[in-house]
Amino acid sequence: MKATNRLEKIINLCFWLSASVIAGIFIIIIGYIAVKGFSVVNLDFIFTAPTRAGKEGGISTTIIGTVYLTAVALLFAVPLGVSTAIYLEEYARRKSRFARLVNLTAETLAGIPSIIFGLFGFVFFVIFLNLGWSILSGGMTLAIMILPTITRTAQEAILNVPHEYRENSLALGASKWQTISKITIPSAAPGIITGIILSIGRVVGETAAIILTAGSSLGMPLSLSDPVRTMAVHLYILALEGISLERAFGTAFVIVILIIIINYMAHLSLRRLSHLSS
């Protein structure tokens, strides 16, 4: 759309300007992390365990801790979230007040600060269920934290599946569940995956909730009942307790790389699935 008169050119300039400001902000922040943290990041920073409370050594146990905790959180939240979305969109009478109430609370919880989830996890999982500081307590607390996001994005995705698909499938004599599992979910998969990516981002960046439930011990987690320190918590302690700011930013740099990998893999699977939904 070629900008014809002068006004159009100015508006065009404003748009390009605002986009470059956003890109600028991004580059400054990522650049800042890289400059501050890059000197520390090398292969053995990633593969050796921290020593002297993180002053020395690498961050291997925290990387494994992050992967463990994210896996446990997703293993609880994704099946539960997607099933809830399927139930609310396909089985429950959607207009029922009950379903609307659930949607409202779910949306609200998405805005609640994570320290409150941490306290709930501490009281309920760590103390009441006597699971102690562990991957299990942390994983389940994080699962509850990301459950609203996964459920809501899954509901939106299911809503967007064209109604004709269901009708055609049923008309072929498919049962309700066959229609859902073979047509509705696969077509809604891209939307569901986007919800999962957002949730992974939140879990990887989380600190307050994890400190109170999964603990912050530097040891190598061996079983579900061991406490664990994730990279974000490690970064938090290194920075706030003034142990080492360079290592804190080094950890941040590794987190950024981890997020890039997760997003890339997700977009890859999205592209493979996207040509499915016409």
């Binding site: 698909y165 049923l170 016409s278």
Partner: protein
């Protein structure tokens, strides 16, 4: 060609919440014949069509009184499983909507959900159904490619192939050609007349010339009532009811 009655409706009434869409429909549809249902939009012809495979139940708040029989078996008995019923009563919709899968998977979808696992049998059914729908020659070399890249006419024939793959006895068609160009419509009508002697076909259409061309019997619906039902040539040449005559001569509706 056995001319006994395949589908019979007795005092069939359908309500959407408190709106009555159909009033006491009594109709007998012959086996291996094409029966056309015509009438102005909103006259209840689609509602009647969708009550044969109980797809009306999808819409919240619908209720059906009276009965429909296929081979003397009452469809609205409480122990009839609508899933199995629809296996035997295929349906084609106005919008040719293909599943977001390959052409092969689209056609194999029906047999797969009814338990056919063996690849060889599936291949055979897919080829047979695509040939029966006059689509095989156009797609046989790109059968594994996504079905979304097909023209409107091809899509509708793919939907037909999908329905045939389930080997139904009855095929319901809800204005199948309204979204197609003239050439695809002609191909579809030719296909319908070919399938006639193997299936009982009921087609809802706005297009009276189409009804005249493809159907053996025609029913004229108006405001939820079956005004007249007769052999197609009889009904179009000398309609008994004045309202039918006004409609088919295009004075209203």
């Amino acid at each position: 060609m056995a001319n006994d009655v395949k589908i019979k409706s007795t005092d069939l009434k359908v309500f959407y919440h408190d709106f009555q869409a159909l009033y006491e429909i009594n109709m007998e549809i012959k086996e291996n014949n094409v029966t056309a249902l015509i009438g102005p939009s909103g006259c209840g012809k689609s509602t009647f069509l969708r009550s044969i495979n109980r797809l009306n139940e999808l819409i919240e708040g619908t209720s059906t009184k009276g009965q429909i029989y296929i081979d003397e078996i009452p469809l609205y008995d409480k122990d009839i499983d609508p899933v199995n019923l629809r296996k035997n009563v295929g349906m084609v919709f106005q919008q040719p909507s293909v599943f977001p899968m390959s052409i092969y998977d689209n056609v194999a979808y029906g047999p797969r959900i009814h338990g056919v696992k063996d690849k060889a049998i599936l291949d055979e059914i897919v080829e047979k159904s695509l040939k029966a729908a006059n689509l095989w020659n156009e797609v046989k070399d790109r059968i594994k490619s996504p079905a979304t890249g097909m023209s409107g006419g091809q899509r509708q024939r793919l939907v037909m192939a999908r329905v045939l793959a389930v080997e139904p006895q009855v095929i319901l068609m809800d204005e199948p050609a309204s979204a197609l160009d003239p050439i695809s419509t002609a191909k579809l009508e030719e296909l319908i007349s070919e399938l006639k002697n193997s299936y009982t076909i009921v087609i809802v259409t706005h297009n009276m010339q189409q009804a005249a061309r493809v159907s053996d019997y025609t029913g004229f619906f108006l405001n939820g009532a079956l005004v007249e039902f007769n052999r197609t040539d009889e009904l179009f040449v000398n309609p008994r009811d004045k309202r039918t005559e006004d409609y088919i001569t295009g004075r209203f509706g």
